[in-house]
Amino acid sequence: MGIWRSYRLRLARKRWRIRAFRKRRELSAVTNRTNLIRRTDILLFSTLRNERIRLPYFLRYYRDQGINHFLIVDNGSDDGSREYLAEQPDVSLWTAEAGYKRARFGVDWLNWLQMRYGHRHWTLVVDPDEFFVYPFCDTRSIRALTDWLDASSIRSFGAMLLDMYPKGEIDAQPYREGQDPMEIACWFDSGNYTIKRNATFGNLWIQGGPRARMFFPDRPERAPALNKIPLVKWHRDYTYVSSTHMLLPRGLNLVYDEWGGEKASGCLLHAKFLHTFVEKSAEELTRRQHYANSHEYRAYDAGLKDNPDLWCKWSEKYINWRQLEILGLMSKGNWA
């Protein structure tokens, strides 16, 4: 890559950082417990809106994995999410009433919080419906992973978004608070993903899964991106460019091997398709605060009108990370 292009990317990165810095004013702290953060803590960053029912399990899942502190931006929830989070001893909470879209779908807010609090910490950026799975996650804490990444001089860790869905109609089995969503949405597509390389940012662009299969069979190019790099040893100069799909500087996007080998990687189990999804997609459609004119939600809405059974006879039932590794969706790399 030439000097000119790398200079342009450098400018772009600075621009995103300035933007994040300016957007900090849209955030107001509800409870700021960041003074509890110790030097080696692993931090989780998230933006959410009206996810009260998911929160208890979400927090428990990541506490068990070894997250030390949660930094969360609440984008105008009115279902009690804010009050619930404010009570949690390991959560620092901010609210933002401004537009989600104008903050580039929360990226600006989180970039700012990461710049301010994430410097030199391992940071995990996930949505409340994303559950991080990494090699050996059933026997080793997330710190084992980050220690190993540190020892291997690896700064970022990829985890593909894996859409999980229930068998039968999406809202047939309602989700109860505190329940493991994977008890309901335990199915996934194992082998219909397509990959392209993004020449500018050097990341992979992965599409496919049940959303491409059901909602975008005629316009595959519009199917949502599934590549994610949620776990990064943060430095204040870093910035997410578009959701957690890609970062700058672009070296952080090189979470894949180009010479035949496999790097270690994980998955984000995406429990989007619970009964809440049907209401939510209708609401998001009217709010129009989502990516690319919410075309994704429009497609869902159209798809949901007929028969929203994402399950097919080749759907795979989720067991554990080893299953995902055997199927080739993630890899242990040289971690043993």
């Binding site: 397509t194 049940p210 010479w259 043993a336």
Partner: protein, 566 residues
């Protein structure tokens, strides 16, 4: 007589103290060296933690940057202290702060008592070393390395390059032959003291100070001068990955470590509570005689390195996306492509499925939809039959299909009526077995009920497309196994080519084909071709069909030989 432990520590000092206590309370003296870069608080905490143990001491501190002399200096100082303060020590065991004893000390002591004069140290001449990472073996001893590899990589590399160019070579002092090996050793008092009290030690030390990674060569070389009995292996289980950094052990390795029968393992993750609890508690001396046997662990880590460097063939995923020609196998396993067969034979797919026992698809790249076997709309791995999804990334469609159906042979039909983008990929894939009957696309036209002018147009188009496809299949870069027959050749003698293909697939029974597929009725096909010619189109890919009305004579004297490209 007992064994004394030297521990080189730089992090997780609480764990080091825990292990030191384990050894010390079992009558093994311990000398701890703490990297001088460790902060005062942590160091004092360690001192407090071991204050009540009379047979634990700390040695003078050196800065131990990786790959530098500091590590050797620290070891020397600690060894001198050990030999002076604890006269009952016969063997000195060099360990690190992240080592963990796997077997009771009693067993180690018994093992060493049986071998009172043996020095356990991996010591290999530079010619025989295969494990060095970074390309230095002999050069470690003949170049100078004044710059830090970790902090000033460019200077380091540049200086090495410059020395190579001007042909600089250090002189190796007389009396030593460079040897390399794992830095974790166990030496007898006799050998160790001879090394430390060598009259020429000054000379050797000065030389090794500028050798690259002296902790892997100083004692390994010196031991050859004095030892009467070198056992060239390390008693410490320590595995390295492809970057040369040690593999780390976690709680889930417990059973593996237990069964390895090694005395000490490195490196243990400091938070592996269960490992520390289990191995520091066990004292039951039982199998004193068993030799260390790290075979299983070796295999586990060898596999990990292989996965990292070569990966799984035919897999394209988020952390493995090889550049072209670096795939180690473009697809996961062999598959077969048939072009023109289903046009010439009736129910060819059913027949083929019976003959080879694999999965036989129709035209996977048909323009309307992927014709999966059994007319499925979704296939293994939830692969959709949507043409748009498939054509969005035709290569991924194929690699996904082959990956998803590992263990089952896939066959599919292909032809000039299909989306052609995949052609090049097929030709370059060694797993592809491609059999072509050129010109067979004319048969459906011949049997169709279209106006002849339309037929002529379609025929011209299909012939052009197939011509291009054949051109790809004849390219010099070809990797696939390709056989091409013209239609005329094939219909004369269809059984022999079929038998060859089926044999190569390696079908279940490996017996001769008993039942031939039924060929469609070609009566009048020659006439049909002549009509095309008469209309100004030149059908060439079928080969020579007589223009007569009768069926092509399969008993003709001229027997078509299939030709094998490649």
């Amino acid at each position: 007589m007992t064994v004394g432990f030297i521990m080189l520590c730089h992090t997780a000092l609480d764990r080091a103290a825990q292990v030191a206590r384990h050894w010390a309370t079992r009558d093994c003296p311990v000398v701890i060296h703490v990297d001088s870069r460790v902060g005062r608080h942590a160091y004092e905490r360690l001192q407090r933690a071991i204050a009540d143990l009379p047979n634990v001491d700390v040695s003078p501190r050196f800065s131990c940057e990786w790959g530098t002399w500091g590590l050797v200096a620290a070891t020397q100082a600690a060894a001198e202290l050990m030999l002076k303060r604890f006269p009952e020590v016969r063997h000195v065991y060099l360990a690190s702060g992240s080592c963990l004893p796997l077997r009771p000390v009693e067993e180690l002591r018994a093992y060493l008592d049986e071998r009172p004069t043996t020095d356990f140290i991996e010591s290999v001449t530079t010619e025989d070393v295969t494990w060095t990472v970074g390309g230095f073996d002999a050069e470690r001893f003949t170049l100078r390395f004044p710059f830090s590899w970790k902090k000033h990589r460019r200077l380091f590399d540049g200086y090495v390059k410059w020395q190579r160019r001007i042909g600089f070579k250090r002189r190796i002092p007389d009396g030593i032959t460079p040897h390399l090996g794992s830095q974790w050793w166990c030496l007898t008092r006799q050998t160790l003291s001879a090394i430390l009290e060598d009259p020429k030690r000054e000379v050797y030390d000065r030389y090794f100070r500028r050798v690259w990674i002296p902790d892997e060569s100083y004692f390994q070389t010196m031991v050859r001068r004095y030892s009467r009995n070198v056992e060239s292996r390390s008693l410490t289980l320590s595995k390295f990955d492809f970057q040369g950094k040690p593999h780390i052990f976690y709680d889930d390795h417990l059973q593996l470590l237990r069964r390895s029968d090694c005395f000490v393992a490195r490196k243990i993750w400091p938070h592996a509570d269960r490992l520390y609890k289990v191995f520091l508690a066990s004292d039951s001396a039982g199998t004193a005689q068993t030799e260390p046997n790290p075979g299983k662990i070796d295999r586990l880590f060898a596999k990990a390195v292989e996965r990292r460097t070569r990966g799984r063939a035919g897999l394209y995923m988020q952390s493995r996306f090889p550049n072209e020609n670096w795939e180690n196998g473009r697809t996961a396993q062999p598959y077969s492509v048939f072009e023109g067969f289903s046009e010439i034979f009736e129910n060819f797919e059913t027949w083929l499925a019976k003959a080879v026992g694999g999965r036989v698809h129709g035209h996977l790249y048909a323009p309307e939809r992927a014709q999966f076997a059994g007319d499925e709309t979704v296939y293994n791995g939830a692969l959709s039959d949507s043409a748009a999804l498939r054509d969005y990334n035709p290569k991924a469609f194929l690699t996904n299909l082959i990956w998803n159906t590992r263990g089952e042979r896939q066959c599919f039909q292909f032809g000039p009526g299909d989306t052609q983008d995949i052609g090049r990929f097929l030709a370059l894939d060694p797993n592809a077995q491609i059999s072509v009957i050129s010109g067979a696309w004319a048969v459906p036209l011949f049997r169709s009920n279209l106006n002849f002018s339309d037929i002529r147009k379609i025929a011209a188009k299909l012939q052009r497309i197939e011509g291009q496809h054949l051109h790809i299949l004849r390219s010099p870069q070809l990797k696939a196994r390709v056989r091409i027959w013209t239609m005329a050749e094939f219909v004369e003698n269809p059984m022999e080519p079929l038998q060859t293909i089926i044999d190569e697939i390696g079908a279940r029974g490996m017996r001769r084909l008993s039942e031939a597929p039924r060929m469609v009725d070609l009566t009048g096909f020659g006439r049909f071709l002549q009509n095309l010619k008469n209309q100004g189109m030149q059908p060439v890919l079928m080969g020579d069909f007589p223009a007569g009305d009768g069926p092509p004579n399969s008993n003709a004297a001229r027997r078509g030989k299939p030709y094998l490209v490649k």
